[in-house]
């Protein structure tokens, strides 16, 4: 049967879903509606290789327009500002109306904004999309001392890139460690040391009281009364799912769009995937919302299958990375539910990993090392987690013993 399938949000989850639907359904109309006037592109390089000029705009696209044309996937640059789930319609600002039989919502997430009580709102920059990355790149070319508010992944990646561009960088973090929400303190401290070794200043446990601007220079007053002078401010203080559009509808929301393990929302024929969805994970037996590259891809693919009628459970073990300086940090599974922690290695040059176990099985792990040093072990860990294997802790804790042994059994 021929259907009208609409994908709202032209990012990573959206494009993977579209192509997966086409793989399973050659007849239906597939249309992606995206408010950025760009084909779907990768965001991870925005804070890293794009700022460093190692990657250009054309390197970021997932697929060329030819791939979409070949697969008969339509992409329209439009911003949707109203939905009517009852009549299965979407409305755009320019009065265009789009009818669907099945809808995938993949609107991603948006940056939290600082609450400032003066006119400086437009002076603070945030990084989520290519346009913002271009603006930041342009402005920093003649700025020297740059302050990053927020010591999370994106803030620290920007701090690493700016340091490599010979800028003086200050990071202000409200918590008592970097990447506090999800990374164990031991790993955060190793990353912090690397930033300091490269000349970045890291200020922890401090809140911003006030920001003022004098003669083009910003003054940031902290809650201990210290004052920081800076030429430019970028904030990376977390993100929220992009759900404003659905707030007065029947769609069930709770830290994103609530979905089951089949990417189905509370409304029939409406699915959600990627950063915007708070999905049920059957392995962890709870709902979670993830903001990661691997998840956006795999969740998009899973939604695509389900929309095309191939009922498929989403069971992917979470995985994400962050690249800062010559370090690669990786996180797999969930590190917040454990009765035992096992450490593997203690030298960042060979990689350091913390495993989080419950009932002798791995639930998650987090590692950091010089590029290339933790990836294989983290990957094996994901597989061991997925298989719910009871692990030999001796092998886990001894870096001289290969983890491959655990998986081949």
């Amino acid at each position: 049967m021929k259907n009208n399938i609409i994908i709202l949000g032209g990012g990573q989850a959206g494009i993977y879903a579209a192509r997966e639907i086409r793989q399973n359904d050659s007849k239906s109309n597939i249309k992606i509606l995206g408010e950025e006037n760009l084909l779907p592109y990768e965001r991870p390089p925005l804070s890293k290789d794009f700022l460093l000029d190692k990657k250009k705009e054309e390197d970021l696209y997932f697929h060329s327009i030819d791939v979409l044309k070949n697969e008969n996937i339509e992409f329209e640059n439009i911003s949707i500002n109203k939905v009517d789930f009852e009549n299965k319609k979407l409305f755009a600002k320019n009065d265009n109306v789009y009818s669907y039989d099945s809808l995938l919502i993949s609107t991603g997430s948006e940056n939290k904004k600082l609450t400032l009580d003066n006119n400086l709102k437009n002076d603070i920059y945030y990084l989520r999309n290519l346009e913002e990355a271009k603006k930041i790149k342009e402005i920093i070319s003649n700025k020297n001392k740059i302050t990053i508010i927020g010591g999370g992944f994106i803030g620290l990646e920007i701090a690493s890139s700016l340091s490599q561009l010979q800028k003086k960088v200050i990071v202000i973090e409200i918590g008592n460690q970097l990447m506090g929400r999800i990374i164990p303190k031991q790993i955060a401290d190793l990353v912090q040391n690397t930033h300091i070794e490269h000349g970045n200043e890291i200020i922890l446990n401090k809140q911003i009281e006030k920001i003022t601007k004098k003669n083009g220079i910003y003054e940031i007053l902290l809650n201990d009364n210290s004052l920081i002078e800076t030429d430019f401010i970028i904030a990376g203080i977390g993100s929220t799912p992009t759900v404003k559009l659905f707030e007065n509808t029947n769609l069930k929301l709770d830290n994103g769009i609530v979905t089951n393990q089949f990417c189905e929302t509370s409304i029939k024929d409406v699915y959600a995937a990627g950063d915007v969805s708070n999905f049920y994970h059957p392995f962890y037996e709870r709902n979670m919302r993830l903001e990661s590259y691997q998840h956006a891809q795999n969740h998009g693919i899973c939604a695509g299958k389900n929309i095309a009628g191939v009922k498929t459970e989403y069971t992917s073990i979470p995985w994400m990375w962050s690249d800062q300086f010559n370090l690669n940090l990786q996180l797999t599974g969930m590190c917040d539910e454990y009765d035992e922690i096992i450490e593997r290695g203690n030298d960042i040059n060979n990689g350091v990993i913390y495993f989080f176990l419950k009932n002798n099985k791995i639930r998650g792990a987090c590692g950091v090392g010089i590029i290339g040093k933790v990836g294989r072990d983290i990957r094996i860990t994901s597989k061991l987690t997925e298989k719910d294997t009871i692990v030999d802790k001796q092998i886990l804790s001894d870096q001289n013993l290969k983890l491959n042994k655990l998986i081949q059994k």
Partner: protein, 105 residues
Amino acid sequence: MSEENWIEVGSTDSIEEEDLIRFDHQDKTFCVYKLTDGFYATDGICTHEAVHLEDGLVMDDEIECPMHQGIFNIKSGEALSPPACEDLKTYPVKVDNDKIFIKID
């Protein structure tokens, strides 16, 4: 095929099964693999970013990059999973008297 392009990598027992070794020759790096049905060789650096694949995971006929989990088919070099999208170059391998040789063009 001229003889002189075959470069000796090492002995066949220098690689465990389902594993790889890194081989540097002049200014290039290669990975040489032992799979269940024989030896294979590819470029040693990921096509996504400049990372050595020697630290990657070999599973079945695939090598997975340790940095962002890009996956390549070892036998064909085909990029199978993003963020890797450019194929990996492969090289012919032969075994002679328990020694592995790869043909570099």
